[in-house]
């Protein structure tokens, strides 16, 4: 579907822009989540076929010609779980960084800067 592809690209670019331009660590993590969602939309819309239904072969589906591609759906399911784990880990780092410096501004952390 062209519309969801456009939406996915917009979300990816928006998320990356947020990650590059924001100074607050929490906002950077939010940018990552937006980008993640955009990628999921993009992958899903690649597997979509018009006028077809979800790949669940119950009584409503008679032939193989009625379902969409199950592989992108499976990929996105995996990606959502990984995204959840990564987001939780990043938020934990944010908590720890705040405990150390008392600030969430990325420009206050200069130790690894060169």
């Amino acid at each position: 579907m062209l519309l969801t592809i456009i939406l996915g690209i917009i979300l990816i670019v928006l998320g990356l822009w947020g990650m590059l331009s924001q100074k607050n660590i929490i906002k950077i993590i939010i940018g990552f989540s937006i980008m993640d969602t955009g990628i999921h939309l993009l992958i899903l819309s690649i597997g979509y076929i018009k006028d077809r239904t979800a790949p669940i072969m119950n009584q409503a589906v008679q032939s193989a010609g009625q379902v969409i591609d199950p592989v992108p759906s499976a990929l996105v399911l995996t990606a959502i779980v990984i995204g959840l784990a990564i987001t939780a880990l990043m938020l934990t780092y944010a908590v720890k960084l705040y405990e150390i410096k008392g600030s969430l501004e990325i420009s206050d952390f200069k130790e690894l800067k060169w």
Binding site: I9, P55, I56, V71, A74, V81, A88, T92, K96
Partner: protein, 226 residues
């Protein structure tokens, strides 16, 4: 200023990279070759109604094992970072609304989570979703009972045992059936019934328990460290 320019250049490059997806877009009319095989042969080979589940648990079962491993490593990292709890904060009591709502909703939410992972091979859903639903129920419980301590020992045991049994089922597939994580170590049963599709309900139950225990562990760590 220079930084901003760089970010704009990176964004422009990304847009140029993604643009062909949009401009050369041709709606798919046919399934790809791999998908065609999954859709044609999946119901007979694996026996699950939900083909996404068949792909995740059986055809690409090894990837799911890797996914579980990634989730486990992330949880372990969170536990390592937040492990040492810093001083106890006194939290205010939850309101009566939250308490009554929890007492009413918690059993229903847990039951719904179990329902979702048991029916993963028949309807949309599965171990990951069911585990997340269970963890959300536990989150409600933690919100209502501020002083509650969820035994992290119990969580670790659930997590370890379900992970170990998942790998053991995979190895049994190697010995008894066609390959690692082959679900036909158990009889496929009647297509579309609850107890069917071989080992898939068993594997998804283990995944559901493991994911639920891991997410509850994350919540537990975050609650203790605040």
């Amino acid at each position: 200023m220079v930084k901003k320019l760089f970010s704009l250049i990176i964004l422009a490059l990304l847009v140029i990279m993604l643009l062909p997806l949009m401009t050369d877009f041709a709606p798919f009319a046919e399934l790809s070759r791999v998908a065609e095989k999954y859709v044609q042969k999946g119901p007979a080979e694996v026996g699950g109604q939900n083909l996404v589940t068949s792909v995740i648990v059986t055809y690409r079962g090894l990837d799911t094992l890797g996914e579980i491993a990634v989730l486990f490593i992330a949880t372990a990292g969170i536990g390592f970072l937040l492990g040492k709890s810093s001083g106890k904060h006194k939290r205010s009591e939850a309101s009566q609304l939250v308490n009554t709502g929890t007492a009413f909703l918690l059993p229903i939410i847990l039951l719904f989570g179990v329902f979702i992972f048991l029916h993963g091979h028949l309807t949309p859903g599965g171990g990951f979703q069911g585990g997340v639903v269970i963890a959300s129920g536990i989150l409600l419980f933690v919100l209502a009972n501020a002083d509650s301590q969820i035994s992290s020992n119990l969580l670790h045991w659930i997590e370890d045992l379900s992970g170990a049994f998942y790998v053991i089922i995979g190895l049994l597939g190697l010995i008894l059936a066609g390959g690692f994580l082959d679900n036909s170590i158990l009889p496929l049963g009647q297509f579309g019934k609850l107890i069917s599709a071989g080992a898939i309900p068993l594997i998804y139950t283990l995944i559901g328990l493991k994911v639920g225990a891991e997410l509850v562990g994350i919540l537990n760590n975050m609650q203790r460290s605040q």
